[in-house]
């Protein structure tokens, strides 16, 4: 309920601001940005998805100015969907409010249902219709009707338990509908109906009738549909057909709107509020994947043999993209070379590790900002945000973003949005650059220093520390403790296929630290002598789950079984309000061929020739989720906390985190 309610007021506000400006500036780019990002954490334009507060402000400014409507709602930290989507949602609301309100408030049924639909999954639909709305109509309707009615609607929703049913019905429809959405232009009247009809099945006649009445006022077609809908319940396709038919009629406007629409689709992905971070791109949804592919810059060949369980994650044939990207370089007009370089480095795996990737990205953005000049007739905040979104989607295609990068992008977009309009362009640019520097410095460099201080206080003489993989913070802790003259031994546990531990081992040994090296399988063997386990993390989720390099969970589990304390070192900017219970729903798939090949072992070649047999698949998971039970302590820049305190940090410091 909360989510719905929250969503209602926000969208309106948002809509006004975003709408006009967005459509015009850079349609193509904007499109590519949000939806493409299939990456688990940030999926849609990272900034947009969970960081609602960040994204909102820029549009708001504009909207406020333009519409001159009082938008007090903005202060609410309502979760915001990506900017694009937002628009769509807003439009919907606006439309609904304006047109429906009189009738609906009485009935209260239909509006709520439509809203629900939007919020849940109907994004595509909404995208379709808001497009139209972007014209002057919406704006006009909004100021007058929206404000008053929104509360009414929300209350109405809250009262109705019936609504609950709707989402279920809708969700089924959505997938199928989505597929078609791309092709069709949606007349605004139509949109609200379709969802409603789909929902109808259970309370059938009464609701249907009511709706039919309402609709009849609008358009004859619409009414007819509504009536037909209940019957059709089972056959989704028929619904689609209706829609498509209707669309044909209004097509005139379509061509213009087409460019915008794509953006809308992408934006749809996130209707979730900030509490529920935006859903990620699911790669088992064929229609979406198709769309994303069309937009994508990097042409990656999808791996042919995929593991059934992981169809929702992107998996590409490794090594096919580089050449393709190079050939495309000249066509990618707006791509800044710095971005391009960093993207390729992600792709090739030259930059890995959460901090390194984040810093590289931020520095590339800094470069972009320095070289940026606002095109005529555009405003810096909006255009730059759109640009960054498109870059982010490029990064995402190179490699799914980590959650920490998502947080950083959120921050950056927030800063851009918050720029005072009175600043000149050069001032704005320098302010953004200093902000980026500050983020890197405070959130990463200084945070690491604090963590090292804390963590090395936990290292005692005679300790045997077990570390897994290669985490730069953990490495700094070890080296710092060593420099302090503490006597301890380190057991470096490594795992295939990346064998990152070897690099760490090399650096530690070079510094004279006593080390033991082994593979993860032997972790039970070495755990007897271990006194503490130090682990890094890619992200810490707000249910205390530690999302980290695959194998971390195994190590933590064995340590837990042997009653050895597990200490996680993680900067607070990697904390994320998302929650996750397993490692399946969101993850990253590495190159499967790396599994079959064992470098340096000529005798292990069993899989060399089998890789094309249909029954055999290789799965190279990149991350896993360590349950909070296994974690004794998390060392972060705010101190040493138990995993249960992560949501507290996320909540209390988010504002500060975003604003710095």
């Amino acid at each position: 309920m909360d989510a719905r309610r929250g969503s209602l007021p926000v969208p309106r506000v948002r809509q006004v601001g975003f709408f006009t400006p967005n459509a015009q500036p850079a349609p193509t780019r904007s499109q590519s940005g949000p939806p493409d990002s299939s990456s688990p954490p940030l999926s849609d334009s990272p900034a947009s998805n969970s960081l609602s507060p960040v994204m909102i402000p820029p549009p708001r400014h504009h909207s406020d100015n333009l519409a001159a409507a009082p938008r007090p709602t903005s202060p609410l930290p309502v979760p915001e969907p990506s900017p694009f989507r937002r628009r769509g949602a807003d439009n919907n609301n606006a439309l609904l409010v304006g047109s429906y309100n009189p009738a609906e408030t009485l009935l209260a049924m239909s509006p709520s249902s439509s809203h629900v639909g939007d919020g849940e999954s109907e994004e595509t639909m909404s995208g379709g219709w808001f497009r139209r709305s972007n014209s002057g109509k919406l704006a006009s309707s909004l100021p007058s009707g929206t404000f008053d009615f929104s509360p009414v609607q929300s209350t109405a929703e809250a009262l109705k338990p019936n609504k609950v049913q709707n989402p279920v019905g809708i969700s089924v429809l959505n997938n199928t509908i989505l597929a078609e959405v791309s092709a069709r232009p949606a007349p605004k009247e139509q949109q609200p109906e379709a969802p409603s009809s789909s929902k109808q099945p259970k309370p059938k006649l009464t609701k249907a009738e009511r709706r039919a009445l309402q609709e009849s006022q609008r358009a004859a077609k619409a009414a007819a549909k509504a009536v037909a809908a209940p019957e059709e319940v089972a056959t989704i396709k028929s619904v689609k057909q209706h829609q498509t038919q209707k669309k044909d009629a209004p097509q005139v406007a379509v061509s213009v709107a087409a460019s915008e629409r794509k953006g809308g689709d992408k934006s749809q992905e996130k209707e979730r509020r900030k509490d529920a971070p935006a859903p990620r791109m699911q790669f088992d949804d064929k229609s979406r994947v198709e769309k994303a592919k069309r937009r994508s810059v990097v042409d990656q060949t999808e791996a042919k043999k995929r593991v059934e369980l992981f169809r929702h994650l992107p998996q590409y044939e490794h090594g096919t993209q580089l050449a393709d990207l190079e050939s495309k370089f000249l066509q990618l007009d707006p791509m800044h070379p710095a971005i391009y370089k960093v993207g390729l480095q992600y792709l090739a795996g030259d930059i890995s590790g959460g901090n390194a990737r984040c810093i590289a990205m931020l520095q590339a953005f800094q470069q972009v900002v320095k070289d940026y000049s606002t095109p005529p007739e555009k405003t810096l905040p909006r255009d730059l945000t759109a640009k960054i979104s498109s870059y982010v989607s490029f990064f995402t295609q190179c490699r799914p973003l980590s959650m920490s990068m998502g947080n950083a992008i959120r921050f950056l977009k927030n800063r851009i949005a918050k720029l005072s309009p009175s600043l000149s362009e050069s001032e704005s640019k320098s302010s953004i650059c200093t902000d980026i520097d500050r983020f890197i410095n405070e959130k990463i460099v200084l945070a690491d220093r604090v963590i090292v201080q804390h963590a090395s206080s936990k290292v005692k003489d005679g300790d045997v520390l077990l570390v897994y993989g290669s985490s730069c913070v953990v490495e700094m802790v070890l080296l710092h403790s060593h420099e302090l003259g503490k006597q301890f031994r380190v057991i470096v546990v490594d795992s295939r296929p990346k064998l990152e531990g070897k690099a760490l081992l090399r650096r530690l040994v070079a510094k004279g630290v006593h080390c033991t090296y082994t593979h993860i399988n032997a972790v039970s063997y070495v755990m007897h002598e271990v006194t503490k386990v130090f682990l890094g993390a890619s992200s810490v989720l707000s249910n205390g789950t530690v999302y980290s390099r695959v194998g971390t969970a195994c190590v933590a589990m064995v340590a837990h079984a042997f009653r050895v304390p597990v200490i996680i070192c993680c900067e607070a900017y990697k904390f994320h309000e998302r929650v996750q219970l397993d490692s399946i729903c969101s993850n990253e798939l590495g190159d499967p061929d790396a599994i079959g090949k064992v470098p340096g072992r000529m005798d292990v070649n069993y899989l060399n020739d089998v890789s094309n047999s249909g029954n055999l698949q290789l799965l190279n998971l990149m991350y896993d989720a360590t349950p909070a039970d296994y974690v004794s302590m998390i060392v972060t820049d705010y101190g040493m906390i138990p995993p249960t305190s992560v949501p507290v940090i996320v909540r209390e410091y988010r504002r500060d985190h975003l604003l710095i």
Binding site: V307, E308, L309, D494, S495, R496, P497, K502, L505, R506, V509, A510, G512, V513, H514, C515, T516, Y517, T518, H519, I520, N521, A522, V523, S524, Y525, V526, H528, V550, G551, A553, C554, M557, V558, A561, D582, S583, I584, N587, I595, G596, V598, G600, R601, V604, Y606, L607, V610, S613, N615, L616, Q617, L618, L619, N620, L621, Y623, D624, A625, P627
Partner: protein, 420 residues
Amino acid sequence: MPDVQALVNDFLNKLKKRKIEGSQATAKQTAELLRSVISQQRVPYTNQAGALIDSVRAIGEQLIAANPIELAVGNIVRRVLHIIREEDLSLTTAAVTELNLSTISDDDDDDGGGNQDDHPVLSAAAVAAAARSSLRPPSLQMLLEGAPEFVAVPRSSSSGGDSEGKSKSMDRNSRTRKLKHDVIEAVNELIQDITTCHELIAEQAVEHIHQNEVILTLGSSKTVLEFLCAAKEKKRSFRVFVAEGAPRYQGHLLAKELAARGLQTTVITDSAVFAMISRVNMVIVGSHAVMANGGVIAPVGMNMVALAAQKHAVPFVVLAGIHKLCPLYPHNPEVLLNELRSPSELLDFGEFSDCLDFGSGDGSPLLHVVNPTFDYVPPKVVSLFITDTGGHNPSYMYRLIADYYSADDLVVQRRHSAVN
């Protein structure tokens, strides 16, 4: 005799150099070797069983010392010793019954009291033998009558021999030959059992694997392969995740075999076990040895898998032929029943020589590489053992041991060294 010694030496060499891989192969070869030892062994007129036992034990001790980690060797030696004792007992029993029948007409061996007057030693041995050889529980009558103390029966073999010597005309040659013959027959059966244990275990597959199951396994085991394929042949369709089992990567081998046999197979890294286990219905693994307490010595990494399975309440099923059942209780098995393999499997030779400064420090090397072969899985995380004789709980394993080993043989080595 010399040829036997040559065989033994050859086998010892192989064991020492770890040329024989897999407990099944080891067990089979051990049994074959012992069979030839027995067949070559000259048997004295008296105490033939004792002679056989001594020779087998002497060789067994060498074999065990050659590779103390390969518990299957010890198991087979004990099994053979047990077989000798059993055969001897049954022969004695037969003889005694015959004797009894001839001297005292209608007495059953159940009727211990009647016999004791005339032939105290013989009858006691006979009763004990009868009771032990059949492994049947003591009859109600025995329990009620206060039961003769079976435990007190002296070394049955020698007493049997002695009594035989005393007794009148049992043609010795035939008995001697019969004992050896019986023992060799029994050892042949043992070898047969070892070779066919896969089939016996695989037959039970359908009882445990249902449609659409997701099964995880680690490393490579012939038993597991046969087990899964048996289920596949019964038209069950299911998916298998194979953890590769670094650093030996036996999992690749298994995956290749499984895929070749038409099973949906997915290879994962060992580190992904925890991530995947939540979607797995059952973990089916092979083992290196099963200890008397129900603990399992298994390829390295298995403890991790077992813990993950326990965390997610996934059944952890261990397949083990009976020859892997070891009558010993483990003490600190992670270390004592383990073997460190070459570090070259983890790091290339000289890979770190450039950053190691050998001249400095206290002389202790800066870098150690640990590459253990086995893992110990404690009984509490094992859900089920599937052996040739059916499924058993870990807590039941100690009882199975009584069926296959005699208590006198549990400690092969110390007994021998004491004699020396």
